[in-house]
Amino acid sequence: MPEIPFYRAIQDALAEEMRRDKRVYYTGEAVQPDSSSIYRATEDMWKEFGRNRIRETGIQEAMLAAGSAGAAMAGMHPVVDFMAVDFMSAAMDEVLVAGLWRSGQGGAEGFSIPVTYMAAINTYGGGGYSHARSQIGYFWHGPGLKMALPTTPADAKGLLKTAIRDDNPVVFLFHRRFLTERGQVPEGEYLVPFGKATVRREGKDATIVGVSGCVPMALDAAADLEKEGVSVEVIDPRTLEPLDTETIFNSVAKTGRLITADDDYIRCGVGAEIAFQVQERLFKQLKAPVQRVGNLNTPIPVAKSLMAAVMPTKDKIIAAVKRTLA
């Protein structure tokens, strides 16, 4: 099986879907082959699809978000690259409204908004509070937006293909650290369904549900803890909406301990929601309070020393696991 970088998996998924379905087009500031983006359209894609389907724009997030939703209502399948989630949030209302629109307009059979909104999170390390946010919870909070957060090249390809074919708005986020990492990706048609978590590592003493950038961190933490005789299970939900609660509940029922780990602010965050759902179902099976690791409630700083204090780290995850064992 070939091993390719994450950004290449995104490009392959895009090219395949654009070839398969004329309604699919790719739009954003950095989509052309001459752009600065790492996952811009390739020269081959440009030759094959041209300007009509690789639609570069200026800095106009409201147009990217709501314009693509309008094009989707009228029958197209746009894939929108916002580059950084901070920029996507310049059009926060437009993205949230894309999720509300179908039902607010009656949601009749045949009415759909098949748009995919893509962005990197924690995009510019050292970029500070407006270039390094994760904002995952903001999108998960409102109805109507599906959410996919791949952590491997194979999942990037499979989830992006599924997102593009889905007849609903999908927010597709990935940690910037993943972009140049390589992984095995099946050739040909490879789709990953929404709502199916992966158990990245099996264990019996504690469950870590990691999201996006915190998945590799959780795996590193688990490897360290193993040396101390602690066996940790790591789950990667891959999609938050829909969320594979069955896999999470089965794991925590087995281990009795849950630690959540994600890059978003902890208040009203991803971990808070997962924790609540688990304790609601498995309160009696929990051996310790749920722990959450995430960004502290402060704007993301620039200096490395401050970032280490504020953002998730392997050591913070290890400490959280140990708190459940105390």
Binding site: R23, Y25, N52, R53, R55, T57, G58, Q60, E61, A62, M63, A65, A66, G67, S68, A69, G70, A71, A72, M73, A74, G75, M76, P78, D93, E94, V97, W101, R102, S103, G104, Q105, G106, G107, A108, E109, G110, F111, S112, I113, P114, P143, G144, K146, R165, D166, D167, N168
Partner: protein, 330 residues
Amino acid sequence: MALAKELSSVLSQEQLLRIYRDMIRTRILDEQMVKDANSGNMPPGWHSGQGEEVIVAPVSLLRKDDYVTYTHRGAYVWIAKGIAMKDIIAEFYAKSTGSAAGKGGTHIVKPTVGIFGRYGEQGGHFPVAAGMAIAAQMRGEGQIAMMFFGDGCGCRGPLHEAMNYASVWKLPIVWICENNGQSMSVRSDRAWAIKDISQIAGSYAMPGKTIYDGNDVVAVAEAAKEYIDRARRGEGPALLEIKTFRWRGHNEGDAQRYRTREEIAAGMKNDCIKLFEARLMDAGLLKSGDVEYFMSAADAEVAEAQKFAEASPDPKPEDAFTTIYAKTHH
């Protein structure tokens, strides 16, 4: 299809009479909805368009498969684009038989005539309209998009993003500003740095025009036709501003502290329907008796739609969850 030569060199008798008929239907619907809103049995309330029925004219010149986005004051768009009275009234009564299954209120929808609802936060629909024009351009079947906005929401940022993009890509879209001088209670001379909104057209490298007498239905229709044909030929966007006058408050219940009764009375003296009617009669296209015919037909249509709406069921609680996501067909 004979041209109505005395009235217009580009519009046919059939087109003009259709505009007239739909203006009457819109007025009569509006009068009934005002009554219902004030009796308190209409959850979304009503934003009356009385006095601005001229907006029927540009919409009526569109193809069935052209796209239109509209604002809260949208009855003339819905009627002229061919949405049934019963779909509208049942929606305003929040019944499950309404155009948006009782979930949209002012968000009237009918995809088969190119209407996909509206953006609740005013001015959010500039990019949505441009997006529909993207689809029209990519599909290449001659569709265009038409976008209505008022002097109110024209102050918002998304206008810039959408108009700029549409001009860069020469999208097939006609932007129409219905300038009634009031952004709810804010007069447009307090909200805008310029006097005529068509002035911004040059900033987006597109033609623009202001029709100062928005009660002149023929002038508005001819101007709209020119820009519609231009867009359909692939020559890109254009901006048409129509100065109008809003007879009633922003919505029913608006105390209208911001203008005097004298000002309102003066504005209501010019009724775009009556003025158009007089010209149609002079040209021999309407005879006495025709007016009563159109009005009583509209009365009957509204009454029948109301009966349908009143007899319709409320949405069921479980319906709140069934329409969030579309089924994917791949």
